[in-house]
Subunit: 349 residues, 4 copies
């Protein structure tokens, strides 16, 4: 009954097998090996973007911060929601990698920014001339930090606002696969066709050990990205072990299967929760993450039974039994029906 995060489950066995297969003899380091070349080509095919520049790093924070550093000047500000991972969960990594750019927080109800809210935030940064931070890239997350999802059309609408102001668009796709299979569109449709300029293409939360690809659909600043990756300590010498994971991920569309499994588990969970009168949902569920609330007494029962998840908006300590508290529930690809059913059973009481 582990619903705390999709970064805590096991790696898919085919990924480990790929590591073993890659572990033969010598290979040039730093990405100058054949497997890396082939995997970059494969990503370009998957995204229908033959000219894209593609780089691998090991963490989502590295992917996001390096992408933003390539897009933003240090005297600019990055537009993101007030719950964005880059704002709340990266310990100032974007500020660090950009050399001191600011993050301007677009308010959001459910993790998604609206085009109007984005436009208002951008235009509010116009009035102070040289004194204020200058407008920089727009960064959105799909699926969002609240489990909601942008459609490709939503992304296109946001990207239009950004591009109307001459600003580039970054998509934090730590859970890109979950969003993609939920919508049923193509990778191209959710990215460059919708106006995304740079994608953090997540693997770690979807069955890899630790690999994210950064895809620059316009390769003009690719070389700069490489220098920034190196000086950030994010260029792996034994690069083939990053690539092998990503190759296995794409092979036979494993990445889509894993995301479908996670989303299906989450749908089963959400359906069952929806039938319990005690449960209220906090946000729409767009992929593999659900936010719902119930009483403190029920939370206590779940934790005693061994369930693992994060309380969202408070603490059990000192809470009255009938106090309502939110839970963040995340399903990863390895979530079992059995775990979900036991969880629901305990919750039901």
């Amino acid at each position: 009954m582990f619903f705390a995060s999709d970064n805590a489950g096991p790696v898919h066995p085919r990924v480990l097998e790929a590591l073993t297969r890659a572990n033969e003899g010598y290979a040039s380091g730093y990405g100058a090996d054949d497997l890396t070349t082939r995997t970059v080509t494969r990503i370009r095919e998957v995204f229908e973007a033959p000219g894209a520049a593609v780089f691998f790093v090991a963490t989502g924070t590295a992917a996001n911060a390096l992408a933003l550093a390539t897009l933003a000047q240090p005297f600019q500000t990055v537009f993101c929601t007030d719950v964005a991972h880059i704002h709340e969960d990266e310990c100032n990594a974007p500020e660090f990698f950009t050399g001191g750019a600011k993050l301007t927080l677009v308010p959001t109800d459910d993790g998604r920014m609206t085009p109007d809210a984005l436009r208002a935030a951008i235009e509010a940064e116009e009035s102070r001339g040289i004194h204020g931070p200058q407008r920089g890239p727009v960064s959105i997350t799909n699926i969002t930090e609240r489990g909601t999802r942008y459609t490709s059309a939503d992304i296109a609408a946001l990207a239009k606002v950004a591009h109307d102001h001459g600003l580039p668009v970054h998509l934090d796709g730590a859970r890109f696969a979950n969003a993609l299979v939920a919508e049923g569109c193509t990778p191209a449709e959710m990215t460059w066709k919708a106006g995304v300029d740079v994608l953090s293409f997540g693997g770690t939360k979807n069955g890899l050990m630790g690999v994210e690809a950064v895809i620059l659909f316009d390769p003009a600043r690719a070389r700069e990205f490489e220098y920034r990756r190196k000086r950030g300590g994010h260029l792996f010498s034994k690069h083939r072990y990053l690539t092998a994971q990503m190759a296995a991920y794409l092979e036979g569309d494993l990445w889509l299967d894993l995301a479908r499994a996670a989303n299906a588990a989450n749908a089963r969970l959400t359906r069952a929760l929806g039938q319990l009168p005690e449960v209220d949902f906090l946000y729409e569920t767009g992929g593999n993450m659900t936010f719902a609330s119930w009483s403190a007494a029920t939370h206590r029962r779940l934790f005693e039974a061994g369930a693992v998840y994060y309380l969202w908006d408070g603490t059990l300590e000192g809470a009255a039994d009938d106090a309502r508290l939110g839970a963040r529930l995340v399903c990863d690809w390895s979530m079992t029906d059995d775990a979900i059913d036991r969880f629901i059973e305990v919750l039901r009481g």
Copy 2:
């Protein structure tokens, strides 16, 4: 006949097995798992340093730059040799992570700094008051970038110079194991007993996929290190896969066996080279890396035969047949006698 680097060979099979063993069920992320706790304890035992703070990262550049950022203020300068990896091969990562500290280059003949040269460099930074960079940590590398080795006594002599000036000592131990088994001392003797304050304890060049430990023998700034690691994008969510590698590395002293294998291969190579009249050595050989020179014609013959290594001090293009050029030859743990013997045979002509 691959002598280009010790970061290009395969990972030791026991490391892969450990990854497979670690790949069971859910584990808390970011180092909050049992295996990490146990492995940290194990490192403390290996180093006889029960109070040390220990952190894992995936690249040597990250280990060094984060260590230096924890030791240096941005208005200080780091003392290192003019061939130090942190100066020549990290694309300004130390400058980046420290927020703009400088590197003061101590001249060296063979990769090793002498206590006198270090003292002179430190004292030269004293004369300009607030206008010059302020004195910061001393960073040394063992085995050095020229394949030479400091003894523990050498390190102690350098550390004494640093400490006499109130400066902390960082040891870049990307090839720490190679140095250790060559000297035959204990990890404690080569580090904190000799005055080392922070160690980058390498694993990647010695049979791991990509793991380095940073060991702060004085844990006072451990928390700061953690924040810096996180905002550098170097805190792994699926942290157990870093730890599992390091655990396997230490288990049954695998790390020492791998370093002994690499050093032994290198000794075989060096012995054979020493018997060839054409070959001159550029530096003493301290571990698993040898620098030697021979004629351009011989280099051409080696490359044609499939040997892989770096030319050190020039290029073959346009070189006369009898022009002498240096080679950097590195043996990793997986180097075979056969490869060495073939190399020597081709070299001999």
Copy 3:
């Protein structure tokens, strides 16, 4: 009729005379002159803080950013209001000088943060462990960017919240003198006695050419401040010309007289505005700055008559004659009754 800013008026004649007096022969540079020593002593007396460290810089942004860089680590966040000068008007200088710290915006209605809002903001930064930015200094402005004023008791209440969480307090005192004479307390009462740890003590907006003092009431990090000032390019070689201005400022309490003059002018203006039915005030007036609204037609009449001030919340372009727009009106020490009376006359129509 110039009400646009208090940084646009002339320098007080006694300041120019002091520059002329200082312009005799040679003086050691970089603050190592007698006048600087005496002026530092004088500031310590004025603030009843014999142990304070005092440094001079030429701009308010430099004073604030250097103060914050000395107080904050790059992985921390600075708590300030959402209208703070350090957030809105310094083009990311705090982010730059701190090496990438974040600013957490405490919402405010009138430029002042309340202790409850501050506490809520601080506590909201607690919940994410190592992943979020870490809590750093609290920065407040007096008088605020909306012309309102904290009393010394208000400051003490905010400082208590900060100190309860172990956080230091910075006071942006670009208009410190205006706040001080409005309350009628001592410099010590409004600063260290109220819990302020570091003060940006403004001179530029109050009759100097360009000098601010940074006062560290706890001198523990004074040396660090000096290094940061130097590497920020803010240490003046011909330092006596900064000091001479500050010496004249303090001599005979000129600084208090200038602030009284500006406040008195502003009071005259505000009184007159209060008698006009068309005028609404947007905020309380705490010193030398007033925010008020009236119709677009009236704004047009004023601008045509040569009045100079900033529209606060919109633009005249395309505004209906009866649309109401806010004005920011600032009085400097040189403001004349005549200019105020003409302004009111035109406004009255």
Copy 4:
């Protein structure tokens, strides 16, 4: 007998008069005043560079660091001599403002780099691909930190090496006027006609209170410079007081007269020194700064007589009477014949 620095003498009276003249009524801040516009135009005329972008700051460190930050990427290295002010005397300001770029030190005998040494340094940075720092701007100083001077032809030869490698050229002209009048060429000939892309045009060491102009002969990155100046805290609100100094400096070629006066004083000093058998010169004298050596006994006599200057290469403490020590002697515009003659008299004994 003050020969310690040209930043310790008085400001020229016409500069103070200009400040007084500028101190009339209100003027828009931040450089948006008429005097600034006119002075920028005047600089363009003086440099025959109608398209140049011109900005004023108050310190040489700010001018240099902002210029380099506009020219260099953080993953690059700046080529300068090992005695460059930007390396030795700015407490890491270039590293700070560039976001962590490195300085590669070109060895020099007398403060001047040779085209060959520059080319060798640039080419040595080529061999390490993405791992090493990338080549960035070349920064030279005229007159140099050793008092020597580049001719315009020398500068052109260095600029050619830089441009052949696609690198821009920065000239640190803290003593530009001294170099210019010594050569007798035009400002254009010593700068853009010789290949200089950005000039730090010094005023502070030549009779101003504290003003330097940064001149971007190619204005393409002018806007970026403005943002960097603002976020560096180097944009003055009461900007007219910077401009007024610079306007007076240019008016009637005051700047050239002041430099001629300083150079003439230095020539008188050098001529007299050359007639003393005890004196050896350390470097050629190119402008207003001379390096010479004599015995410790003589130094002691001079200091006792009240002479002020820096010992260059050692300390008197414990020096034998006949030990030779170097002196750095700088003449500013206000140096009197009388002071020089007394100095020589004491020196002669």
